[in-house]
């Protein structure tokens, strides 16, 4: 994970959800640790999509979690989320 990705994402979360920046860590889980609900996550997704020029596949991720094919950790723990973002950015420029 690129550290700059985490810095950007943490900044977006802090600003969007009014969460103190220092409480947002790479190992934080957006839902379980930071208490971000699905509506707030839409704002975050909007800001992340814009900041990185990507479209995070939230519908696909949610479906995978609902089907038991993935855990929420894989997508909503911030270090994992940032890895997904890096992959999407790389795929876009490939």
């Amino acid at each position: 994970m690129m550290s700059s990705t985490f810095e950007t994402v943490a900044g977006i979360i802090a600003e969007t959800c009014d969460i103190p920046r220092e409480t947002i860590k790479p190992e934080s889980h957006a839902i379980n640790d930071l208490g971000i609900d699905s509506l707030d996550f839409l704002d975050i997704a909007f800001a992340i999509d814009k900041a990185f020029g990507i479209k995070m596949p939230l519908e696909q991720w949610t479906q995978e979690v609902n089907d038991g094919k993935a855990t929420t950790d894989q997508y909503f723990q911030l270090n994992n989320l940032c890895t997904r973002i890096d992959e999407l950015v790389a795929a876009k420029s490939a």
Binding site: L42, A45, F46, K55, M56, L58, T62
Partner: protein, 157 residues
């Protein structure tokens, strides 16, 4: 407008899938029980209904952009500004532009003009979900026909 059916727009005037914009129009009815309460002797179109009119306008744009595969549900409203009074009998020109189509959500900016003057504007976020049932979708298609939704545009967009 058919306020009793919560139909806040009358007609889709223009839909541009390339620019991701829409224009609609609506005429505020001259009489409604709503105006008896809002306000007695001083009838005004409620701001919340103007916001709903913007949401319906932007919602039809989202339905068009997603080619009738998703139903947009009003999820969030930002920077809503009610700039001038709207009275019974006035004709409204509404427009919306898609700001972002995300996965499972969309964001649009919308506005209403009366006689060319900006009456209100806002940024609206929708959750996009699959149509809850075939009947639901069929009802939306019926409403689309009432609003003169240009179905042919979807094939060419």
């Amino acid at each position: 407008m058919r306020l009793e059916y919560f139909q806040l727009i009358d007609r889709i005037v223009e839909l541009d899938l390339r620019d991701q914009t829409i224009r609609t129009e609506a005429r505020v009815p001259t009489e409604s029980t709503i105006f008896e309460g809002h306000f007695p002797g001083y009838p005004l179109m409620p701001g919340v209904l103007l916001i709903e009119a913007m949401a319906q306008t932007a919602g039809w744009l989202v339905i068009a952009v997603t080619k009738f595969t998703r139903m947009p549900f009003f999820a969030a409203l930002k920077e809503a500004k009610l700039r001038s009074f709207v009275s019974p009998g006035q004709t409204l020109s509404l427009s919306a532009k898609l700001v972002h189509e995300g996965s499972g959500f969309a964001v649009a900016k919308a506005e209403i003009r009366c006689d060319g003057k900006l009456a209100c504007n806002a940024e609206i976020t929708f959750r996009l979900v699959e149509f809850p049932s075939p009947d639901f979708r069929a009802n939306m298609e019926k409403m689309a026909a009432i609003l003169e939704f240009p179905m042919g545009t979807l094939a060419h967009g």
